[in-house]
């Protein structure tokens, strides 16, 4: 963990659902300005961990700290005020509202006037390159655009931390590249600490500085992309044994693209 303390930390967190141990003694830190990856098989507890970090899931044991400040039991909306933003695995846009209002809502929720929030929303949309969607009602968006708008909503008013739950799901390789660029800019230009959950392992390996691997609620590996790629435990639990040839080409391609 970083010495300057600018990180969002889950320390020894355990969560249990009626006998099912969703998380046991998980410790994970998301540093400001960097991209941290979180991978793991289905049902490993990744989403649950994000829920914990954003106040949607009370912890059974352990604690959450935001840059040194303990945050246990704080309501989700207050955490957002403190600068912890997230997206959802299942989109969750405000379906009745136009895209720009979807973003504006967050600004307003964070205390901006409507005028400021609208200006900010338009700035963010432009920054993401999706200004053309501004007036579409969110309910009519195709799946992939939903994800982009969700990210836009989350980075309104520049949070300190951004937790992304499978943002690239359903995207083609090309589309996930665009996304990768955006995530990189969010971390770099906006100095946001990003936690990225993805099953698109290529994307994770490409983007993250540090990757946590979760299996059955436990962290089984932490390391740099290279370490993770080579870890047998990860390969066994997660990537599938025969098909690891899937990974290199994408990484190679990514290197070319960037």
């Amino acid at each position: 963990m970083r010495s300057d303390g600018l990180e969002l930390v889950a320390r020894d967190v355990s969560v249990q659902f009626e006998g099912l141990k969703a998380l046991s003694d998980v410790t994970l830190a998301v540093p400001r300005g960097g991209i941290t990856g979180l991978i793991g098989p289905n049902g490993a507890g990744k989403t649950t961990l994000i829920n914990v970090l954003t106040g949607f899931q009370p912890v059974g044991a352990g604690s959450i700290e935001l840059e040194g400040e303990p945050l246990n039991g704080i309501a989700a909306h207050k955490l957002r005020h403190k600068g912890v933003a997230r997206t959802f695995q299942s989109g969750r846009l405000f379906r009745d509202l136009p895209v720009v209002d979807n973003l504006e809502v967050t600004g307003v929720g964070l205390g901006q006037t409507r005028r400021d929030a609208i200006a900010e929303a338009q700035r963010v949309l432009a920054w993401l390159g999706i200004s053309s969607l501004a007036n579409t009602i969110a309910g009519a968006l195709p799946y992939t655009d939903e994800r982009r708008v969700a990210i836009g909503r989350a980075i309104m008013c520049t949070p300190r931390y951004l937790l992304l739950d499978e943002p690239a799901a359903g995207m083609s390789e090309h589309e996930s590249h665009d996304l990768a660029a955006i995530i990189r800019r969010i971390a770099g230009e906006l100095n946001v600490g990003v936690l990225l959950i993805e099953h698109n392992i290529g994307l994770v390996l490409e983007l993250c500085e540090r990757i946590f691997v979760l299996d059955s609620g436990e962290i089984i590996e932490v390391g740099t992309p290279a370490e993770i790629r080579d870890s047998d435990a990860v390969r066994h639990a997660y990537m599938g044994t025969q098909r690891d040839e899937l990974i290199p080409p994408i990484v190679a391609e990514a290197a070319v693209a960037s």
Partner: protein, 304 residues
């Protein structure tokens, strides 16, 4: 001791009535997310079906004269047909709409039925005599319990068990619950959704008829508004029982009945007129403590 027993029976019998009502509401709510505010008027309609339309003060009994083995099936049939018709003519067209829209449509339907009855029969309550022998008390451990109470409780329990088994154990029940949750997805899995929904309506209509019979036997009157109260309590019971939980709805029906009886029995005299305020207050408290309802299935709480 006998006092307590008496209260228990009073609570059970009132509770059964609410529970039967809650079943009828919960079933339809289950398949269509529709709170059928016309249910109370279905109840009244079934009762009035025993009388010949006339605005005279004295009732002209019609089907009410039939022997019970004909009357009961006939009335259940009337309830089922009315309910099915309402589905085909009205509710079918509201399948994909907002629950509030459906609710108002059901309310409007009830309004139409009510005023139709008003036109045909006038607002004056009519008297009906059904099975006077059911009014006689039976003795049970020193308590005097009207036969009708016993019958009501038994009917409720039987209906409940049959319905729960039906929903839990049969393919139809499974399909009904699936359609309830995600209508289109169920259809994409080959569930014949219209049939399933019609069945739910038919059962609900029969339950309305059953309540009508019990109310009419108990009170000896047919009154335009006679189902309204049961419907409202049933609606509340459906929610505090835990939406989507049939046993929950029934249990909550019993609970509200019990609360009402217990408040009536224990409140000091001057506070007794405020009994309903206590009952409604208790409902609010229950909701605050268990917003998903008392017996909500685990799934009722959406995960993030």
């Amino acid at each position: 001791m006998t006092d307590v027993l008496q209260i228990v029976f009073d609570a059970l019998s009132l509770g059964s009535l609410y529970a039967l009502g809650a079943l009828g509401i919960a079933l339809i709510f289950g398949v269509m997310r529709l709170v059928n505010f016309a249910h109370g008027d279905f109840i009244a309609f079934c009762v009035f079906a025993m009388l010949w339309p006339s605005i005279d003060a004295a009732a002209i009994v019609f089907a009410g004269r039939l022997p019970f083995y004909l009357l009961i099936p006939l009335l259940l049939l009337i309830g089922a047909v009315l309910s099915i018709l309402s589905e085909i003519v009205v509710f079918r067209r509201f399948r994909n709409t907002n629950p509030a829209t459906m609710m108002i449509a059901s309310f409007a339907l009830g309004f139409v039925i009510r005023h139709l009855l008003l036109m045909l029969y006038s607002s004056r309550p009519k008297s009906i005599t059904l099975w006077p022998s059911l009014g006689l008390p039976v003795e049970f451990l020193g308590a005097h319990i009207p036969m009708l109470q016993v019958v009501t409780i038994m009917i409720t329990l039987v209906v409940l068990v049959v319905l729960v088994l039906f929903l839990k154990r049969t393919r139809y029940g499974l399909e009904m619950r699936a359609a309830a949750e995600n209508f289109t997805m169920a259809r994409m899995l080959g569930v014949r959704a219209n049939g399933v929904i019609l069945l739910a309506f038919a059962i609900s209509g029969m339950l309305a008829a059953a309540i009508g019979l019990i109310l009419a036997t108990n009170s000896g009157t047919a009154d335009i508004g006679m189902g309204a109260n049961v419907m409202l309590i049933a609606f509340i019971a459906t929610v505090i029982g835990g939406l989507g939980s049939i046993p929950g709805a029934v249990a909550a029906g019993f609970l509200i009945g019990a609360a009402s009886v217990v408040f009536q029995a224990t409140l000091p005299h001057d506070a007794r007129v405020f009994r309903d305020a206590f009952v409604y207050g208790a409902v609010i408290v229950v909701l605050l403590v268990r917003p998903q309802g008392l017996f909500a299935p685990k799934s009722a709480k959406q995960r993030v």
